[in-house]
Point group: C2
């Protein structure tokens, strides 16, 4: 289990949305300058060599900002570069297997989309550090995503969860405050930063909305 981490503004970095490897590095750096508190690499269309090379380039940047860097799905890529952890879905390696491979200090997040999966995750106390709950809204980013849970569904998951929960799925600047009403620990965004004309400003605005919603 990771001693301390901040899910407030969780960047899911999709290098294809960013425009490739180099653009993804620039987006990550800008998002961190704008206030992103954790970065996940997720590149479902990419071969693993490209994941590895980008992960290797991202890690020193996240380290310089003191935020965790996690890899979606691929425990081997996380091990290869020495990432801080992984984020896994219900159809990836089981969480306990990921924990065994990554060790006790890794940060492990698990996607849940309903209360059954949330209850199941609670049985993995000591294995899973946080939950990613969603999709809150329908999103074109993940074509194989579950049915959207909406704000009410998200609130139920957050209330039932045994660990901190970050909301994900269709979250943009215009609905960020709404989503925060469900009391997640933070918001995960993909296109809201990866496709932003100015990722630093986009991150900064989202961070401000998140901070404001907690007052």
């Amino acid at each position: 289990m990771r001693a301390s981490f901040d899910l407030s503004l969780y960047l899911v970095l999709d290098p294809v949305q960013c425009g490739g490897h180099d653009a993804a590095v620039r987006v990550a750096r800008a998002a961190l300058e704008g206030g992103a508190t954790i970065v996940q690499l997720r590149a479902p269309e990419w071969h693993k060599r490209a994941w590895f090379e980008l992960a290797r380039d991202l890690l020193p940047i996240t380290r310089a900002h003191g935020v965790p860097f996690v890899v979606n799905d691929h425990v081997d890529v996380a091990l290869a570069v020495g990432a801080d952890g992984v984020h896994i879905g219900q159809r990836d390696l089981p969480a306990d297997v990921a924990r065994r491979l990554l060790g006790p200090d890794a940060l492990i997040g698990l996607s849940v989309s309903n209360l059954d999966e949330t209850a199941d995750a609670a049985k993995r106390a000591g294995v899973v550090d946080y939950l990613g709950a969603g999709p809150v809204y329908a999103t074109p980013t993940k074509t194989d995503a579950s049915t959207p849970c909406g704000i009410d569904g998200l609130a139920e998951i957050c209330a039932a969860a045994h660990v901190a929960t970050v909301a994900i799925g269709g979250i943009q600047a215009h609905n960020a405050a709404d989503v925060m009403r469900a009391k997640p620990a933070g918001l995960a965004v993909v296109s809201a930063i990866c496709k932003a004309a100015d990722p630093r400003t986009a991150a900064s605005a989202l961070a401000a909305t998140i901070a404001q919603s907690r007052i």
Copy 2:
């Protein structure tokens, strides 16, 4: 590096071609009874949880037959189940990274499709145990495969390789003897066994052709 292994009849087990998890287990068992000397799991359409569950079920079967079991691409799945090694492509994790993660005793194979990649693999002496050369023929199994190297190209690769080479790509009962003229250490087949009406008999016939071609 693996102390000893036999590439003669190399089954690349595609569970989708077999008809699912249970059918793939049956095909693997039948192929081993028929004379398969090594088994690789490759399920490009599958999520990693399904890879993991099938790999976990295959390992005791290959162990019982005393043949190695390797996982295509996913070093994490190999680590998770304690497989004997991995087979990686040019766009997967680099071979030296896979070796570092899997340790000195793992069996690591690398796909090559031309002499440049074969020469590059030779620089990885002590890292790669064998090469998979091909595709020999065009094949619908791998839609992202390289240009077929043909029998002559295969012979060039086998002659240039620093380690044992298994031929792959479009190999079926009717062309197996032709491919063996290029002097590979063995033949890798997918549909010739996975889609066979009787995988045991198909494996047995291929094994006989391979043995005959060496006389």
